[in-house]
Symmetry: C3
Subunit: 348 residues, 3 copies
Amino acid sequence: MTDDAFTERGTGVTLKELAAAIGAELPADVPGTDVLIRSCRTLDSAGTGDVTFLSNPKYADQLDTTKATAAIVAASVTCPANPGLMLLKTKDPYYAWSLALVRLHGHRKHPHAGVHPSAHVDPTASVGAGTVIYPGVFVGPRTKIGRDCILYPNVVVYDDCMIGDRVIIHAGSSIGPDGFGFATHKDADGVWRHHKIPQVGNVVIEDDVEIGSNTSISRGAVGNTVVGQGTKIDNNVAIGHGVKIGPHGLLVAHVGVAGSTVIGHHATIAGQVGITGHIKIGDGVTIAAQSGVMADVPDQTTVIGSPAMPASHARRVYFLFTQLPTIQDRIKKLEQAVEELSDAGDEV
Amino acid sequence: MTDDAFTERGTGVTLKELAAAIGAELPADVPGTDVLIRSCRTLDSAGTGDVTFLSNPKYADQLDTTKATAAIVAASVTCPANPGLMLLKTKDPYYAWSLALVRLHGHRKHPHAGVHPSAHVDPTASVGAGTVIYPGVFVGPRTKIGRDCILYPNVVVYDDCMIGDRVIIHAGSSIGPDGFGFATHKDADGVWRHHKIPQVGNVVIEDDVEIGSNTSISRGAVGNTVVGQGTKIDNNVAIGHGVKIGPHGLLVAHVGVAGSTVIGHHATIAGQVGITGHIKIGDGVTIAAQSGVMADVPDQTTVIGSPAMPASHARRVYFLFTQLPTIQDRIKKLEQAVEELSDAGDEV
Amino acid sequence: MTDDAFTERGTGVTLKELAAAIGAELPADVPGTDVLIRSCRTLDSAGTGDVTFLSNPKYADQLDTTKATAAIVAASVTCPANPGLMLLKTKDPYYAWSLALVRLHGHRKHPHAGVHPSAHVDPTASVGAGTVIYPGVFVGPRTKIGRDCILYPNVVVYDDCMIGDRVIIHAGSSIGPDGFGFATHKDADGVWRHHKIPQVGNVVIEDDVEIGSNTSISRGAVGNTVVGQGTKIDNNVAIGHGVKIGPHGLLVAHVGVAGSTVIGHHATIAGQVGITGHIKIGDGVTIAAQSGVMADVPDQTTVIGSPAMPASHARRVYFLFTQLPTIQDRIKKLEQAVEELSDAGDEV
């Protein structure tokens, strides 16, 4: 089982056509621009007929040794060590790479169209044209699914939810389970019990959202839980009831957001971040992996750490944290010096 | 897509009836207690005919501006700025709010009764009266499900498990997968391998438990994994084999509890907490979000942090942690002062 | 509902036969080695006819009071306080215990053979002989499942994946959802959007892997995501696209591994660990619970903490972290002493 196991979806285009499709420049008068490019591959696995890309500088060395026919690179990149490699130069190599993948491989071809007969769509739900619903999916009463969506196997969308157009939800995710809402009350028998609060809100997923596998997005207690347009959510994320996530956010795997928190647009929330309830995360905020956010975060701020701190402060804090043994040594030395000075003073 | 999208389940009662139903007091001789209340809404989304509530002091300002007809509040609350707002006074506003939601909206009406034909219940399993089993659910051999339970779509309950009465399990959760039990052994060929240990225990879920979506509760290796009566577990939680959770606990999203740990009654375990295996968490313990618990926690204790520390100590530790740059500055200043004192001493 | 609820799968063997089956020694000339042993139970729940085991020294006291007929123990263990207890001595009690469980209880007997009719296996997929596929499972186009595998209910394996032999995947896990790959690009209208990058790789699960419930393993962007032979993955784990995990690893619940990271063989990664993308974790590495790994880890290293540090350094760091209030007190005292010394100097 090698890298060759991966799906060959491409049929091939000439290098010249590919450059045009992805908005890249080829060096003038280069011979061989009619060569056929068939696949996109990584620097180290590409061979003849493949295009690859360099975006993460960590992999720059591999440009010298890749066996790819062509590489999508930033305008400033040269590669004298690998003269046979055709460089496709572009301002935004990663975006050009995404266009190359779309051109050569395309998006998944589904094994069926529309609602699969072994999915369960409630008769009062509606499903837009062009939407593909895989086996084992459940769509609850009165829920509306937009056009050109994809619900992968065993996705569950509870009652009364609203899913926009071109939404993709991966296998096993659950949209609209009851929020974690209980009123803890001392009952007549003296026992404190958690009494279920009916969760009468819903979930609204706006257009162009993608949601990974095994993610849970709870319905609002009253009112909506909202995932804004174009926001992308990874696998195994948990979103609490009444959370509002603005458009064009990124939430990486295992992120947890507690109830009623509001997140602005273009937020980037890295893996395993936890955000407490009832706070406000501004627009354009970045939150580093494993951070714990317990207070509002202003617009355009990067925070790091648990508890989350502004990035530059957090970097100092965490550096000093790892240096605590040195700090302790310095304190010991100081204590000794002060003792000696005191003794000396006493002698004086 | 606005807040109006949320489910209208209510049919309406008079304010007077509502006050009686939720155990709240209306000011004496207030006119208008026959006004019809139809829905429960948040302070900022409520309008005429709605009841709202104030429990979190963070939202107290909104009482002045809410357009609700009535608000459930603590006995001490007044609102002179919003004279039209009827105040429903009660000792426990959040509990009264839960009763109002039950009275006005009720719990979910299921689209079918009993076991849905596209669920798979093993012929040797039993399902109590009044239990609703949604499509895609799997109930394994010899498993017993009590009365008046709800198993939402694609829930899996493995073989030989015991589910009490009035248990709710949300979509995609898995009850009784094999625990993570392997004997790591150097085989005859010199390779260390992880050998599967048959997990011959089961999971016991007692009465009135609610479990969120995409949560996994592993079966005991030998003996039970137990979730005690009335305990509520959120989404994407992972409970290891042989864990015993006492009655009336709360486990928030992404909590992980490793094997054989015993948790007392009325534990509150906040989001993303990790608890190691083979330890004892006492009764009435509270564990703050993202804490890492590596040792026993006595009854009625609050712990915070990773590693978890008693709350008051942890608060000082985390405060000083965020102040490490200041601590470093103080040490630098001391070092300078001591150097100067030494120099001065030398001069003397 | 007591411990007695657990599955009785055993039919019983003599103690002598059991000793032979698990490679343990019985004391010479002990009477009663023909006694029938029927079940494996924990020290505190075992009774007559049961075998138990002692591996974790934490439970050593219970050897004195267990009512088991026999106990599997290390060669050095004696138990004069419980003379009726037969000791089965072995070099590796936990491994011997696993063999006893296999001998007495065996692995799960499945309620059906082969592909259950309410599973959905694409006609272009292949499923090996002896493989059991439970209801609600989805196997996508062109995916190959090896021999003697078990796919529990509602597992989803996307298109073009390769699953080896004797692989076990627990309920609700998702193998091969699209990786979290988006090219963020400022579109012609001036809005930054996340553009989906087709994920044209796949997932390769090698032989003898076990995967828990509600785990997600994303397909490679280009090329494979690989889980090496004999690796065991717990519940609710999230593996990013293009990750390669070597053979014989252990990944505990809620671990998250970001894209393109490479993990060597025999890694042990404890609960809730997060590992960033594009790094290399060596062979035989151990990572403590809740650690956050942001840089390469050399072979045979143990790391602890967030950020992850070599174990011995991390232990000092975390000890001093919990002592920060004391450190602050020492600094205060030093400041006072230095002030006094300065004053004294001025006086001099």
